[in-house]
């Protein structure tokens, strides 16, 4: 039995294997239930199909994928917290803080220059400023860390390194940041919008390597702010990030 949408002159498989696997499983489910119903499509789609295709069927699709040993990547910390059985393990953001650093494969790096600045990466500048900004790198990647800084205060000159381009995780402490390096998003992501409103220097879409907790860093906030046209055309407008030699 074929579904109406199985006859598609131009359509190809989805780009990503997981999407293809899930969609194929759902289509198999629909074919099976349609046949089981004995109805035509018109009676099935908003009729018998709504009773026959249940949440348990979708749970079975998920379980089948997990049974292969596949574990999903997560974005929300709540996802891996609530279902550690189906997600890849969460990184420990507390006990190994001193030895952790982002290692982006596209990070541009270089040896220290005459001023002792070692190139550690690039990002997209949110707002151009008259001078570059220096401060102390601190990774902020979990709710527990945010609660810690809510209770104990945010140290001065903190350059927050965040892998969350959203505006909610760091909401209670964002205004205390000296600057932000965000390993995701664009200058129009929520964190980019908020740092612009707060007047906090910020590089988004940062690709960095070799910056550890407590390092002094400099970010090139004198670089031009990345424009909508640059994103649309794929033009790179790099703002550099350096680690200062101790």
């Amino acid at each position: 039995m074929k579904l109406y949408v199985d006859h598609d002159r131009y359509g190809e498989a989805p780009q990503f294997a997981l999407v293809e696997a899930v969609h194929n499983s759902v289509r198999d489910l629909v074919r099976r239930k349609l046949k089981e119903s004995g109805d035509d499509w018109a009676s099935f789609v908003f009729g018998s199909g709504e009773k026959l295709i249940t949440k348990a069927d979708f749970e079975a699709i998920d379980a089948k994928i997990v049974a292969t040993g596949y574990r999903y990547s997560f974005t929300s910390m709540a996802s891996v917290r609530d279902r550690p059985d189906i997600y890849k393990p969460a990184p420990d953001t507390t006990t190994n803080a001193d030895t952790f650093c982002f290692e982006h494969p596209e990070a541009v790096t270089g040896p220290p220059d005459a001023e002792g600045r070692a190139l550690c990466g690039v990002g997209d500048n949110v707002s151009r400023r008259p001078t570059n900004i220096r401060g102390i790198a601190r990774y902020i990647r979990s709710s527990e860390q945010v609660i810690h800084y809510m209770k104990n205060g945010m140290p001065e000159n903190t350059v927050a390194i965040i892998d969350d381009s959203g505006g909610t995780l760091t909401a209670p402490i964002c205004e205390k940041f000296h600057a932000v390096i965000c390993a995701g998003g664009t200058v129009r992501s929520h964190l980019g919008i908020l740092t612009r409103e707060y007047g906090i220097p910020c590089l988004m879409n940062a690709r960095i390597s070799g910056i550890y907790e407590g390092d002094e860093v400099e970010i090139e906030t004198t670089a031009p702010a990345k424009t909508a046209e640059a994103y649309q055309t794929g033009q790179d407008m790099p703002a550099y990030i350096w680690r200062i030699a101790k």
């Binding site: 949408v5 199985d6 598609d8 131009y10 359509g11 190809e12 498989a13 989805p14 780009q15 990503f16 997981l18 999407v19 899930v22 969609h23 759902v26 289509r27 018109a42 789609v45 908003f46 295709i53 949440k55 069927d57 979708f58 699709i61 998920d62 999903y72 997560f74 974005t75 929300s76 709540a78 996802s79 917290r81 609530d82 279902r83 189906i86 997600y87 990647r141 945010v146 969350d164 381009s165 959203g166 505006g167 909610t168 995780l169 909401a171 205004e175 995701g184 998003g185 664009t186 129009r188 992501s189 929520h190 919008i193 908020l194 409103e197 707060y198 007047g199 909508a228 994103y231 649309q232």
Partner: protein, 521 residues
Amino acid sequence: MSGAETRTGVTGNTPLTYAQLLEANNAIQICGDETYWLCVTRTVQGSKLFPVSAYILLSYANAFYRYPEVLRKIEKNMRAEDVADRCRGIGMKVQAATMGWCLPAFYLLGREWLLSLGLLRPQDAAEDIAYVMDFWRRFELGWHRNNGHINNAAYGHRSQILPNRRLEVFKADIFPCVPGEPLHEATLGFLATVSQYAFLTACECRLNTANTGPYKLDDDQEMLVRDFMDMGESSLPWLDGVTADITYNNLTVTMAARGCHFDILDDWGSFESKPEFRGEMLSGVGLYTSDLLTDGHVPVGMGSPEELTATLNKITEELKVAMNKLWLRMADWSRDQLMDAGALMYYASIKDIAHVAGCFEVSDWLEIDPRAERLRPILNDEYADLALGELVGYLTLPNQVMSPFEMMKHSNKPQRVLTPLPLSILAGEDYVPTVGPIQPGSTTLDPKNDRYNTTRGTLTLAEYNQAVRDYTPESLTPKYRFLCETWVKYNAHTELANELYKIDQRNSRTLKGRGTGKGPV
């Protein structure tokens, strides 16, 4: 302004016509083109707190199954174009983002996702789709009646919606400020805090903020009208309790800027400028509140620069206290609760039109329909990120791939975001007209408390619905409602025009009672 119009085909009374299908497909294409531009150029979603992509897909499915009925219910009380007139002059969450883009896009992206899953054919729910697109078109044309476009994109990403009489008041009452002055500092601090707060109350989306304009003030200054909405105990249940001390549910900031041109006001209600706007460019500010029980914008702390400074600082502190309480509540939520809040935030982004029509019901807007809920188990973070990426960015779901001859607007690729309705139904191909009535839903969130922050104090829902039904702002009474900008241009010398202007000037510090004359009173 009530009573649903019987429209051939879209109410199920008669078959769809060729013209209606063409109109619907035009609306679908407008929405699809702009969706692609917005998603590619305007943002990248991501959050460590909220499972954003997962809740977005859940909300899309909920919208597909529920919007047709809730919109029809609204039109039993008030037509779409009348809803637009009722809201254009106040800062409620009936704005560019929610109505200009969310309404058609969430509904149609839900359809597109379900198509890719094999749960639909393109012709299924054809009458629903034509109806939702017709509702959207009529609302948008009403909302944009002062500029004549269907959305901000059609206006070259500009959003000038207000009439001259309101803009005269905003301009005359705005307090100039320069960097270093207390009012300047208080304004920047407030704007940053309220923006942060709005992202949090909206579960990591920008739907509790909106910007319209720009409006030219002089050769060197432009003004944005910036709305911040649903800040207190409103129809978002997660705000109950923690925002009880928030004074104003909606605030509107008139923001003058010197030295930049706001060149993009998009259909997400966000702005860009050249050169990029920075705090030192802020050159003037005004503050107002409004809702369905006010006749336009009511000044807040606008007696003097000192009063406004103190007011902004006080509200900023209120927001910070509420933000910390709300954040701690959300940080303790389960993934399902985070998903429900986000999905309902998205799905119910248009909920205020039900408040406008005085027919808001919690079960219509704050529950996940079981037909959407059943999909939750496949919405892990990775699948949701990838599937959403294919749906709105890569356009690589099979239903989005077109003939190799096609060159899509903005990308030149043989793709489309949204599938048109097949015209073959006019040739007799079978279709199912509607998804049918909404079904009793569910949520893992705490039930909504019966408290709604309004300009008449905290009301119950029954009181709020009744108060809205009982109140018509004077400027929207039959005597004045259709006295449009074209009429004013040629009739400003009449007493009727003078009366019209005085309505908007009632609360003005500088123009009260002036009427259509020029200059200060």
